[in-house]
Amino acid sequence: MDELVGLRGIVKRFPGVVANDHVDFTLRRGEVHALLGENGAGKTTLMNILYGLYKPDEGGIYIKGKRVKLKSPRDAIELGIGMVHQNFRLIEGHTVLENIVLGARDLEFVIDSKRRGEEIRRIAENYGWKIDPEMKIWQLSAGEKQQVELLKILYRGADILILDEPTSVLTPQETRELFRALRRMASEGKGIIFITHKLNEVFEVSDRVTVMRKGRVVVTEKTTETTQEQLANYMVGRPVVFRPEIAEAVSGEEVARVIDLEALSDKGIPALRKVNLTIRSGEIVGIAGVSGNGQVELAEVMAGLRKATGGRVIIAGVDVTNKDPRKIIELGVAYIPPESIKWGIIPDMRIVDNLFLKAYRYHPYSNKLILNWRKIFEDSERLVRDFEVITPNIFNKARSLSGGNIQRLILARELSGIIGGGIPKLIVAAYPTKGLDVGATEFVHKTLLKYKKLGSGILFISEDLEEIMMLSDRIAVMLEGRITGILHRGETNIERLGLLMSKAVAEKR
């Protein structure tokens, strides 16, 4: 079989870690090869080496049978390698066409947009994409932006494609569209490397799968010859519980209710349009939907971080509409913010400081004026242990923690009961597992289920439908600031949810 890429014995060391430890990897013509592993397993490093961003310390790179040295991405591009990064590298104010031809070698002085637009359209149609080359990037949805990124590569005639977690920004429908296009590319003889940490995607799209853990390749197998459970074991290095035990929802008392809630987005346009929802203690209410349909705004209004322009928020029987966050915290609301690195922690402060970002002002951690550091240190040690935050010591900067450990830190701060004692009445969790590896995701799930059992009411926002369906007792689907439907456990399936979610996506176009 025709080998497009051969990486042999690649070693890459960074100060203190071996990111790639004698890694072997091959990509054949006409295959989609999934590269699976937890965060920090060395997938991205390996791909950056293949794309010329890093030089390996040892080992050889073979492209189409020839040994090569890649000094920079330019060399890689010349050899027909293209990479779609997780965060798009497009110029928002420029058109699709301008973005695509930007890297073209043979660019004429005045861009022949007619001819080039035609070429782009032809490539797009081949993969079933309806993209107008004259549209500005900011007018496009995330899925379309990704298509532009792919077009950029395809336009250059690349036949080795690297996609770094491409589905993290897509709806289920868009994901399916992408997979179809990838299969088509493979059938045309291109080779595709698909970086992911989602197991189900491996089975949906790939021919072979390579699992990495701690910088090493654990296994490379044909996808048809393995199972999800097996791959998960390879990834984590131990058996993973796939279906956590779910306690029946005991419909307890109502802990939160929002009535006809309205709010504006950061851009000043309506983000919530008369949202109604109740959450009871001992229940997980999932909010499904493509991100940007008002989920974050809902969470923020409930946490007191965004002004409601209409309607009411009632928590534990108290009207807290537009009350300050402190009052809401003191009513027993825990908030796990989206993009926790940006909103949930202060990277340049110590782990202890971050653990006590809210609790510092309450007894016994301080009196009227002075902080009781001794008590804070003592309890920090305990929290770090209880919530399995892995760190050499609590005085390190929070910046030194991995994504999973940052989320554990936030869970410890919000849920452990250091704020006013007792378990939180309401937990608002906005995308708590986004970007986390399997182990950390599992921990978040376990923790939420534990607090559900203890009697917290939980609002659980996620884009991952499987996760939502697994955990939620009820699922509300949000779309353009409205709740389009609430489904109970048992009456949900992906198709039905997808339909409720994507109606708006179809209308938007």
């Binding site: 966050p325 908030y335 922690i345």
Partner: protein
């Protein structure tokens, strides 16, 4: 994060440091000071001044006892203001207005003295405590105004604090040319001399010792506030990230206003230390820019209160050296201002080395065998 620069000599890579170790911070600061001296030496040579003699005089400002005492005296207003700035800067509140806060501090303490002298108000024993209180309060208020505007209307504090400096300086000019002029002073724009019990002489009868005590107490207070009080914790959180501060339930406006008040208050006491310590009366332009020097000092000390005390004494010494240079070698005092500015520039450049590591990869570095 790393950035590569291709040069004819090979690749230079600039990498962000995961943490900035203390010894690097200290080293770069010392190096900055050393380089500044070197740069000044070069300039002195270029304008034809015997720089060894000049540098001998500078060194003497730190070693000769009577000059040393003068250095410490000059360091007091710098130190108190810089301690306040340390708090404000930690809060990300860029107070450029210590100079103005010093001036209103002088107004407050002089006002109290004049009320006592002209109208016989207040007992001798409460005079000094009252002066401390009022200069702290007025300095604080002078800083509270910009803080209020920032907290409530997001007005840029750099501009407002800076502009308030001129207001304060001109206010002193008006008072001293007008109502506060010493009636028996032959028309000179000076206030009456302060009586001894309104001066900072309560330790060994000398302003330098009294001032040193004040500086150390001030540093202790700043340390306690920042490292052990709730307010200090809140100030650090607000300074790091406003959104996270709001998220954690901190009343951001309140913290900014409290922090700014304390910062301004400390500078106000710095003003007091000038009129009732260094000069013994109020006169126009009584501060030769202590409030601006304090900005440099706070930066040089990395906002650490104890290091601020040391750095202020260093800068007090430089100011003394400036006077000595002018008196004995006829070198303009401005050489010292230039030196201050150059030190500041080098410190700013040093910041790059604290945050980033620079790696020379050479031409073939990292290549495959």
């Amino acid at each position: 994060m790393s950035r590569k620069i291709n040069t004819p000599f090979g690749v230079i890579r600039i990498e962000r440091r995961a943490a900035y170790p203390r010894h690097i911070a200290v080293l770069t600061t010392l190096l900055a000071v050393l380089l500044a001296f070197l740069a000044v030496a070069i300039i002195l040579v270029l304008i034809g001044i015997d720089f060894t003699a000049a540098f001998t005089l500078i060194v003497e400002s730190f070693t000769k006892p009577e000059l040393m005492l003068n250095s410490v005296k000059q360091a007091i207003p710098i130190c108190l203001s810089a301690l306040g700035l340390g708090i404000a800067f930690k809060m990300n509140f860029w107070n450029i207005g210590a100079e103005g806060q010093i001036y209103v501090g002088m107004i407050a303490s002089t006002g109290v003295v004049l009320l006592h002298a002209y109208y016989g108000l207040f007992d001798e024993h409460v005079l000094l405590p009252l002066m401390f209180l009022t200069s702290f309060a007025l300095g604080g208020l002078w800083c509270l105004l910009p803080a209020f505007l920032k907290a409530k209307m997001n007005v840029n504090e750099i501009l407002t604090t800076l502009m308030l400096n001129y207001v304060a300086i001109l206010l002193v000019d008006y008072l001293i040319h007008g109502p506060w002029r010493d009636p028996g002073g032959y028309g000179f724009p000076l206030s009456i001399k302060f009586p001894d019990y309104a001066k900072l002489l309560f330790l060994f009868g000398d302003t330098a010792y009294t001032g040193l005590l004040m500086a150390i107490l001030g540093a202790a207070a700043a340390y306690l506030i920042m490292d052990h009080s709730k307010l200090g914790f809140e100030i650090k959180v607000v300074g790091q990230n406003l959104n996270v501060a709001r998220y954690s339930g901190i009343d951001v406006s309140k913290v900014i206003m409290f922090g700014a008040f304390i910062a301004g208050g400390l500078a106000g006491i710095g003003g007091l230390s000038i009129v009732s310590g260094i000069i013994g009366r109020l006169r126009p332009r009584a501060s030769p820019g202590y409030g601006y020097t304090a900005i440099i000092v706070a930066a040089l000390a990395g906002l650490n209160p104890w290091l601020i005390v040391l750095a202020s004494i260093f800068f007090g010494g430089l100011l003394t050296a400036g006077d000595v240079l002018q008196a004995s070698m006829n070198i303009p005092k401005t050489v010292i201002q230039m030196m201050q500015a150059i030190i500041f520039l080098f410190i700013l450049m040093g910041e790059v080395f604290k945050r980033y590591r620079i790696v020379f990869e050479g031409k073939s570095g990292g290549d495959m065998p």
